[in-house]
């Protein structure tokens, strides 16, 4: 199904104690968002990344790809936070180490003192948090997540829904990909208009199939003496 799911079931820490893995990950994430020491954060990032790659055995290239996606968004967000910009005829100058105002629409952009360091800290915090989250999701398969949820006494109905949803995601994700491929082979995603139409058709087909599946599964539940609960071990 999804690559992260795949790694979660095949990594070297797959069978380690789930409570331990989840606790550690949560602690790492918490440490990330409360620390503001740049060196400490760098150390954390290095530690988590190395453990994930060499300890859990996640391939370097895959890991790099997975980190690259949020990193791009992170850069944009940090840029937004670090630079002060907007439209105003009033010129702030105090406290800036860089400031420029354009004549067009009175657009201004500036860089405040201390902003760079704040931005850097924030970026490292986020990276460290993301690395912690990746450690969790790459080493803890769904079956273990459920054990932890049960231990944490989450409402049983929530756990049941979680388990069922996971199963259905696996079924329909594959179907969605197949339908998408078939459409692609027929030039369904050439151009904007074709793409929108094809995507709408895909959504419709998936929906119809899900409703049909619901009807079939209702009968099967009856045959299996369904008593209202989905028992999760």
């Amino acid at each position: 199904m999804l690559i992260i799911d795949r790694f979660a079931y095949t990594n070297k820490f797959c069978n380690s104690n789930p409570y331990f893995k989840v606790t550690i990950s949560f602690l790492l994430i918490l440490l990330s968002i409360i620390s503001s020491n740049i060196y400490f954060l760098c150390l954390m990032i290095a530690g988590i990344v190395l453990t994930t790659i060499f300890g859990a055995g996640i391939p370097k290239q895959s890991y790099a790809k997975m980190i690259a996606a949020p990193a791009v968004y992170l850069l944009i967000s940090i840029f937004t936070i670090v630079f002060t910009f907007g439209f105003s005829d009033k010129a702030y100058t105090e406290g800036f180490i860089y400031f420029k105002q354009f004549h067009v629409l009175n657009f201004y952009i500036g860089l405040a003192e201390g902003a760079v360091k704040n931005g850097l800290t924030l970026g490292l915090r986020a990276l460290s948090g993301i690395a912690g989250m990746y450690f969790l999701i790459l080493t803890t398969p769904c079956s273990q997540q459920i054990k932890v949820m049960k231990k944490a006494k989450l409402p049983p109905v929530f756990i049941e829904l979680y388990v069922l949803t996971y199963r259905f995601i696996a079924i329909f994700f594959e179907e969605a990909i197949l339908i998408h491929t078939a459409q692609k082979m027929k030039f369904g995603y050439d151009g904007y208009k074709n793409s929108m139409n094809s995507l709408a058709v895909l959504i419709k087909i998936l929906f119809v199939r899900i409703m049909m599946r619901f009807k079939d599964m209702e009968s099967i539940l009856e045959l299996k003496h369904f008593d209202g609960n989905f028992y999760v071990d």
Binding site: S143, V163, A170, E174, L223, H225, D227, F230, Y231, V232
Partner: protein, 263 residues
């Protein structure tokens, strides 16, 4: 134990799915229901399982007319199980164990009994080693075995199989064949198989009902039915390999291939 008398089933939109069908599941230990797509095989199963109520006619369960109240139906379903064609439709859990245990737990068996039965069912279907893999990592054939295990764990007296070999490769087909044999011979289960794969039915079943467009075209011992080309043609079915060998190549009528080739 289970039979239908003069059953007609008409869908809401007016399509006649079955017309005056009589079937008695006591006539063989391994019954084959054959017919091409749309001949009414699936509807027939739905009626036997009490999911559809006949428009006309009646179903007899232990010689009593089947009532459609909750208690009777629950009783019926403790005695009958079904394995559908598409395993994904009947596997609700990602964990193999939880899925095989599902019906048992619904019936409030105590956990020791559940453990024992599930383990036995997984052994019988050869999926013991798969139990820690999530279902979506399994192959189609393996999923099929999981769905059979879910039914085998219930110890039903009668098990229905809807197109059990469809979509399976040769080895998985052979595997399903031996699971069925095991259930039937060693566990003494009654088995009812619907299929349009005549080679499979010829080797797996002993008594045959031929359906065509919702009507019963013929019934009888497999040797009788499969030697009657007229009926097979009318129902749009192929002659089994061994029958062809017998009829056109002048060989004896063998029960299965290994017999033929060991000769």
């Amino acid at each position: 134990m289970l039979r239908m008398e003069d059953v007609t089933y008409i869908y809401e939109d007016g399509t006649v799915a079955l017309k005056d069908v009589n079937i008695d599941l006591k006539k063989g230990a391994k019954i084959g229901i054959v017919g091409s797509n749309g001949s009414g095989k699936s509807t027939l199963f739905m009626i036997f399982l009490g999911l559809f109520k006949p428009t006309k006619g009646r179903v007899l369960f232990n010689e009593k007319e089947l009532k459609y109240d909750k208690r009777t139906l629950s009783e019926l379903r403790k005695n009958t199980g079904i394995v559908f064609q598409d395993p994904d439709k009947q596997i609700f859990f990602s964990s193999v164990f939880d899925d095989v245990a599902f019906a048992l737990r619904n019936l409030k068996f105590n956990e020791d009994e559940v453990q024992k039965r599930v383990k036995l069912a997984m052994e019988k279907t050869g999926i013991t080693e798969l139990q820690n893999k999530p279902v979506h990592f399994l192959s189609y054939g393996q999923k099929k075995n999981v769905s059979i295990a879910g039914v085998a764990a219930m110890n039903h007296n009668i098990i229905f199989f809807d197109e059990p070999t469809a979509g399976l490769d040769y080895r998985s087909q052979e595997n399903v064949k031996s699971i069925l044999e095991n259930l039937s011979e060693k566990q003494e289960k009654s088995i009812v198989v619907s299929s349009h794969d005549m080679n499979f039915i010829y080797e797996a079943c002993d008594y045959i009902y031929v359906l065509n467009k919702g009507q019963l075209l013929s019934e009888g011992k497999k040797e009788t039915i499969f030697l009657n080309k007229e009926i097979l043609d009318k129902a749009g079915l192929e002659e089994p390999f061994l029958v062809k060998v017998h009829k056109y190549l002048g060989k004896e009528l063998y029960k299965n291939e290994s017999e033929l080739f060991s000769d």
